[in-house]
């Protein structure tokens, strides 16, 4: 029984299973939260948009996941002509696969024997959301944003990625209108795999460049 050891004593402020209670979010709204609610309610009240339309947009955002990017990478690994089109015009190539770029201007950068690419946005949190979904929290931290341009090898090491000495690290700072996707190297031993099996080893972190695909 997993919680046996908690049965005979209770700590102040702990749940019966011996864990701290999650505090309720009863704190007052911040200035910008109030502003967002006020503007949203006004837009609905004036008939410019509806609550349903806002919710539909949130659902659309939430439906985007790294699986979209992984499908693009898997296709590029198996189809050299597609890969060439992807590198030349990332947005056109994703559209070709039925993924709506929705304004995303995608630049795909390819990892090779000589170059490892990693993506950061030092100014804010620019990220290819239409292809990978929302960015992970660490991507938006000051630590990741400032350190990745200053000591990328140390940062990659903390993600568990040690690069060979003769590989050049190429950091991409998404400072303006382009968004970046790393095309990882296809691992040896994946010859003959179908697109689904290939996509399964392409994680979000591989496409940001802080990891490389691992064999299962």
């Amino acid at each position: 029984m997993p919680h046996d050891h908690h049965d005979h004593f209770h700590h102040e402020g702990m749940s019966p299973s011996g864990h701290p209670f999650q505090p309720d979010n009863d704190h007052p709204l911040t200035y910008w939260q109030r502003m967002e609610i006020a503007v949203r309610e006004l837009l609905v009240e004036k008939g410019i948009t509806t609550a349903a339309a806002i919710n539909a947009q949130i659902e659309k955002m939430d439906a985007r996941t790294p699986a979209l990017g992984a499908a693009v990478v898997a296709r590029a690994w198996g189809d050299p002509a597609f890969k060439a089109r992807l590198l030349a015009d990332g947005s056109a190539a994703m559209e070709e696969m039925g993924i709506d770029p929705d304004g995303l201007k995608l630049v795909v950068v390819e990892n090779t024997d000589e170059v490892h690419n990693v993506v950061v946005c030092t100014l804010c949190s620019c990220y290819p959301r239409n292809l990978l979904g929302l960015p992970p929290d660490w991507y938006k931290t000051r630590a990741y944003r400032s350190r990745t341009v200053r000591e990328p090898r140390a940062v990659l090491g903390e993600f568990g990625l040690e690069l060979a000495e003769d590989v050049r690290v190429q950091v991409h700072d998404s400072t303006a209108d382009m968004r970046y996707l790393v095309l990882p190297r296809r691992p040896d031993g994946t010859e003959g795999w179908d697109a689904e099996a290939l996509a399964a080893i392409v994680t979000r972190d591989c496409m940001i460049g802080v990891a490389v695909p691992q064999m299962p």
Partner: protein, 115 residues
């Protein structure tokens, strides 16, 4: 002392048009040491640094105008400029020959031999 990266520009044209870019892939350029107030998308750590144009991205609305609800015209050419870690961080570089690419708007760039 400037340490320049090697640049192999992509063998295809930019998918987004430009009405005439001042610099070409491979050109050596320096980021202006500007410090105007307002919204701008030129990172401080690259100002005054010299690199090479990796590619032309195309013309895009000027974010310094867009941020204040203007239309962003005239659109400006945007370049991906590559810098060596040695150029950006000097002696403190983690590894001199690693590189940083950033998108820089044309009005933030000057020819490397400009005074």
């Amino acid at each position: 002392m400037t340490v320049l990266p090697e640049v192999t520009s992509p063998p295809f044209p930019p998918p987004y048009p430009t009405r005439g870019a001042r610099f070409a892939p491979g050109d050596t350029v320096r980021v202006r040491r500007g410090a105007a107030p307002g919204h701008m998308r030129t990172p401080w750590f690259l100002r005054g640094r010299t690199g090479r144009v990796e590619r032309i991205c195309g013309d895009f609305a000027n974010p310094e105008e867009l941020a204040y609800r203007r239309d962003g015209d005239p659109a400006r050419a945007v370049y991906r400029v590559r810098f060596t870690m040695a150029e950006v961080w000097g002696e403190a570089a983690e590894r001199a020959q690693d590189t940083i690419d950033a998108e820089i708007f044309e009005h933030w760039l000057e020819a490397a031999d400009a005074p």
